[in-house]
Subunit: 107 residues, 2 copies
DNA sequence: CGAATACGTTAGCCCGGACTTACGCATTTG
DNA sequence: CAAATGCGTAAGTCCGGGCTAACGTATTCG
């Protein structure tokens, strides 16, 4: 099982996860949203599946892909582990400076 | 300026950002923490700089790299934009099931 | 049964990315 | 000034990732 964050970071797969977050979708439905071919989408889905982020169940001749909640939790954990407290403090600092002290550049 | 999330997702660069979050570091200090060579780290730092996530200032013959708060804010925004409400709900669901309803699998 | 549909899979291409080695440049130090 | 240090950069290698085209497979439908 590959690194969930690396798998999810790729732009096309990022978008796929967003689409699947709204509910299960077939491969064709997903492929419609992109300019690349359907096989390309299938391969991206395979990467996401390998990372434990999505799963598919057969439905007639369709394959219905869904997000795997446990995988999403895992992904969230990876993001949070990356996003250290120090980075949070930097964000707080930056937004505070931008909102309360807009004129701090003096000669 | 490249995609901040794609730039930050790469494992080595992820780690670089974490190290820099703790405070400014020289290239050599950073390179010590990795097995790859110093030029490799320099190149990774260049990618992060291109994405607006880090910056360097000259200090004698050293180059002191620091995190750019505005870039981190931008990165955070990208993550949040990716992390849709639906994904949040899935996480809530999954954790709730795991903590309050551990025995929900019945025939 | 044969055609059509909805896939996954394979093979192959190609480009980019991660890496190393070697070098060049500025700066400090003796 | 010369050596040493701390870098960035250039050149070249290599491998993997994303893509397409073509094919194989299961399922549905006429």
């Amino acid at each position: 099982m590959a690194d969930a964050l690396s798998a999810a970071a790729e732009p096309t797969r990022r978008r796929l996860l967003q689409l699947l977050a709204a509910g299960p979708r077939t491969v064709s439905e997903l492929a419609e949203q992109f300019t690349v071919t359907r096989p390309a989408i299938s391969q991206h889905l395979a990467v996401l599946a390998d990372a434990g982020l999505v799963t598919a169940r057969k439905d007639g001749r369709q394959r219905l892909y869904s997000v795997v909640p446990a995988g999403i939790v895992q992904l969230r954990a990876e993001i949070d582990r990356f996003w250290s407290t120090e980075l949070d403090l930097l964000v707080d600092d930056a937004t505070k400076r931008a909102t309360t002290q807009p004129e701090e550049h003096r000669p």
